[in-house]
Symmetry: C2
Subunit: 542 residues, 2 copies
């Protein structure tokens, strides 16, 4: 027997129409590529998203056609999110930090029909546009009079002229909620990038779960600044969640340095910001250096890579900001866990709370997770057993775009490639990427644990721990370190710093100091490059 409730598909367009209707005057503030601050509202963004939809109709774009973006966080990018998906096309966000050839490879693989780009990425587009054989329409996200006359790009249009040519009259269509809505490629650390193809349904359910009090806790009293880019797994779903809840949005554009972000946080009275540890390090350094404080920010979501406990502590103890440590991945839309204390943990003392907050947190409702041993047997949630992390849920991928890589699932579960421990309260702790773990004498050393100790040293700016082959122990850890400007620090001093902080056999065998650690397009340290760079490094005692 079926229920007798209205059959209304979960549509991404309903988020922006809800925001326009219930939060029409709520602001969307954007730092533009031009450097100025632009202000609009949900009502106007919805109106312009309708024009985007009509403009795509005028181009004759089929249902399911891919419209690519190469853009910073900003109001035009936001309008494209809704105009493209809402009119039954697919937003394909491309990471502009990729090499130009990779951008072209991805655009071709996705068979993008339209590509919209911020003017700061004009050089990339100039370099690759002839290679992008499926793209028929190039849209520069700028005013008509800012359009370069001599770009050489066939049929280049300005976004403003393109949108201005349309009227507002448009009815958002309703269609199958399982239709494709968003295409995001993984960073492709092994082999070519693979696409994750989200649906309206998966995006809506993810938005509901992500806005819950124990996740990002979004409401109409919030002002949210996503530093995490909209070209990277939809800025963790914040544009959708903000529209769902009517939170004010502040987009930082390309200015992600500590000073620029801090100024926006203060001037726009931001209550919540989200980003990766690297960006927050710049922010904290700026704030410390100038003796500043956060007057409105109450919490910050940190994900993308493990957040050093020292950063969580500094935010809390020095600035009264709660860090919500989060974990997810492109294949998960991306939200998996958020570290929000339960009643029991919120009654612990400050140090004990910090130990919990350094974990990646609890699964948001909708995500099911398990850890398994190498034979696929489920391991207990006891805070001790460490195993391969598997996930499943309505916003986890079933397969990659075009079936690349075959069936990724194991018995209905998606294997994340992470190694994790889960405690009895359901708090997940990622101990490592399975490929980054250092296997020493049959024991596993978490590269992340070793890096966290280094980061806690006052002279260390950045640290990566990698495995080097070892004749006796199979592998032993090497620590690669970038010192803070002006810091005096020797290998021996840093290794002494590990005493009492990790087991003796986990202490790195050696330290090398470098000027920079290579970062990937999503800001993650590229340990494969480091492993290549230091493969001939001779460890002492090896």
């Amino acid at each position: 027997m079926m229920g007798q409730m209205m059959q209304m598909p979960l549509m991404i367009s309903s988020l922006i129409t809800h925001a326009a209707r219930h939060h029409g005057t709520t602001e969307i503030v954007s730092r533009r590529v031009e450097g100025d601050l632009h202000r609009t509202t949900y009502a106007d963004a919805e109106r312009r998203a309708r024009r985007v939809a009509k403009a795509l109709d005028r181009l004759g774009l089929a249902t399911g056609a891919r419209v690519a973006t190469l853009a910073w966080n900003g109001y035009r990018h936001f309008e494209l999110y809704f105009g493209v998906s809402g009119s039954a096309r697919v937003v394909h966000t491309i990471n502009p930090r990729l090499a130009p050839d990779q951008v072209a490879w991805i655009a071709n693989h996705a068979e993008d029909s339209v590509l919209c780009f911020d003017m700061s990425f004009l050089p990339i587009i100039k370099a690759v546009w002839r290679q992008c054989t499926t793209v028929k329409h190039w849209i520069a996200l700028c005013d008509a009079d800012a359009l370069p006359k001599d770009s050489g790009i066939d049929g280049l249009q300005s976004y403003e002229a393109w949108v201005d040519a349309e009227s507002d009259g448009y009815d958002w269509p309703a269609f199958d909620e399982n239709s494709a809505a968003v295409l995001c490629y993984t960073s492709g650390t092994t082999g070519n990038p693979k696409g994750a193809l989200y649906s309206h349904r998966s995006t809506l359910l993810h938005a509901y779960a992500g806005a819950l009090p124990d996740a990002l806790d979004l409401s109409a009293r919030d002002c949210v600044l996503p530093v995490v880019p909209m070209f990277h797994v939809n800025a963790w779903g914040i544009p959708y969640g903000a529209a769902m809840t009517g939170a004010k949005l502040v987009f930082p554009g390309p200015a992600l340095d500590g000073k620029s972000v801090y100024e926006l946080l203060e001037s726009e009275r931001v209550t919540m910001a989200a980003g990766v540890p690297t960006v927050w390090l710049m922010l904290l350094n700026h704030v410390k250096q100038h003796g500043l404080a956060f007057t409105h920010m109450r919490r910050t979501v940190i994900g993308g890579s493990a957040c050093p406990p020292a950063m969580i502590k500094s935010f809390r103890d020095d600035y009264g900001v709660t860090v919500l440590h989060a974990w997810g991945m492109t294949e998960m839309s991306p939200l998996g866990t958020v570290c929000k204390l339960k009643l029991a943990q919120s009654e612990l003392d400050a140090d004990a709370q910090l130990a919990v907050m350094a974990k990646q947190g609890r699964a948001v409702y909708g995500v099911d997770m398990r850890i398994v041993d190498p034979d696929g047997r489920e391991l207990p949630w006891d805070g001790q057993a460490s195993g391969d992390l598997h996930v499943r849920g309505p916003w986890v991928i079933q397969s990659y775009f075009k079936g690349e890589g075959g069936d990724p699932l194991v018995g209905g579960w998606f294997p994340t490639g992470d190694v994790a421990v889960i405690d009895a309260d359901g708090f997940l702790q990622i101990t490592d990427r399975s490929k980054d773990v250092i296997k020493s004498g049959g024991e596993w050393i978490s590269s992340i644990d070793i890096e966290n100790v280094a980061i806690a040293h006052p002279g260390v700016a950045m640290a990566a721990c990698i495995a080097l082959p070892h004749p006796k122990w199979d592998e032993r850890p090497l620590l690669v370190v970038v010192k803070k400007p002006g810091a005096e620090l020797t290998s021996a001093e840093l290794l002494r710093f590990y005493e009492g902080r990790v087991a003796k056999w986990q202490v790195p065998d050696d330290v090398v100091f470098v000027d920079a650690i290579p970062l990937g397009a999503t800001g993650k340290m590229q340990k494969n490059k480091l492993r290549e760079q230091f493969k001939a490094h001779k460890l002492p005692n090896a």
Copy 2:
């Protein structure tokens, strides 16, 4: 083109398995009919819900079969919610405050196969069980040794014995998320009660929306006490939302007086409670009388009928408790709006905030609403225009159970029967909750039901029942009667005539005899004129 995400149906069972896995030790505390306080956990509730599912399998109950409950808020009722729906049957919650004949009528209409009841309702069951021709299994929610030996009810079993006979081994099935899960009857303001048949999908989406920060704001740091009964639109969805978020649950059982509720709020450190204004009046009176305070309660959701602004103010100013005024209806699962201030309103002064908080609030995301004039034209949201309130969304009914009443929709919208104003910020205010219904202590009394009884009296020619304001119950019914020519009839005689025909609390407080009742052009009684005429009438006990 379809997205490539996992196809996982939204299942009610996944709420309780999530709670058991992530919040296994979180408590569910119940004041029982026996008077004692019972403590269990989500892990144990899930285990016992599996036994309920197995016990229903053993009875040979088909998919979609209705399992009725006549029960207070408590852990056994909670287990039935999940065991019944989770095993693809339908929970049918019956309001025990109905007259026994009405209980039997509804059980027959629903074609209930099983009926589970609290021992306090044994007299009702004794009175009606022979009339309930479809019910094959009677389950008393008690221990085996508390089962009355001489009930006379064929095959009466104790819930504990019934559940204890099963083992824990059970795998929750996955099936179509649009399958029926819950059946709730409206109070039947015009004619017989009609059933609203919720699905797993509608219940899950409602739970997500209801737990959002701008709705009930549920988290694993909360302890929630629903005074609103589980037999009345699923206690506003709190059992589902609490399982979704891992909030501790405290069930008050039958003890809803101020002292009992207050003691539970304090001893269990309740952070949020939900109920109708009448119950809160008793609570506030108790707290005031004894000079008490709320040490943990931070907010309370009040719905069911309009909450007096003085109550909102007293909770806030005297006790530091935020009232969340809410509005919904059985046909809406029931949540429509919750009054949570936006950023702009939270910066108003205390009086201006109170004026906003007295409204019914903003639509939770998923509910779409509009007000229309008598010609069906949409009216502006300007805080002035007043019109018929229409709603739509995935947890709004499409039609009533068995198609009763035909197609209730108007152009895809459900007409609520309420008249409302909506302001520019989207805050809804019900101006005339529904034309004629009498809202007494959070329960609705059908004026037509009351009139029908009167009409059945040999001395009555015509009768109209209207609401008069009442200090304790909000509204109480006044019966306006035209006697048949020559009939001798007193108020007391007529009121005695109601005994056994309607529930005691539905009996009018007073009767006035008139020469004529004003009729409109189509022959309908003009109750608005009567309300005007008798607005100064003094009810006894008022």
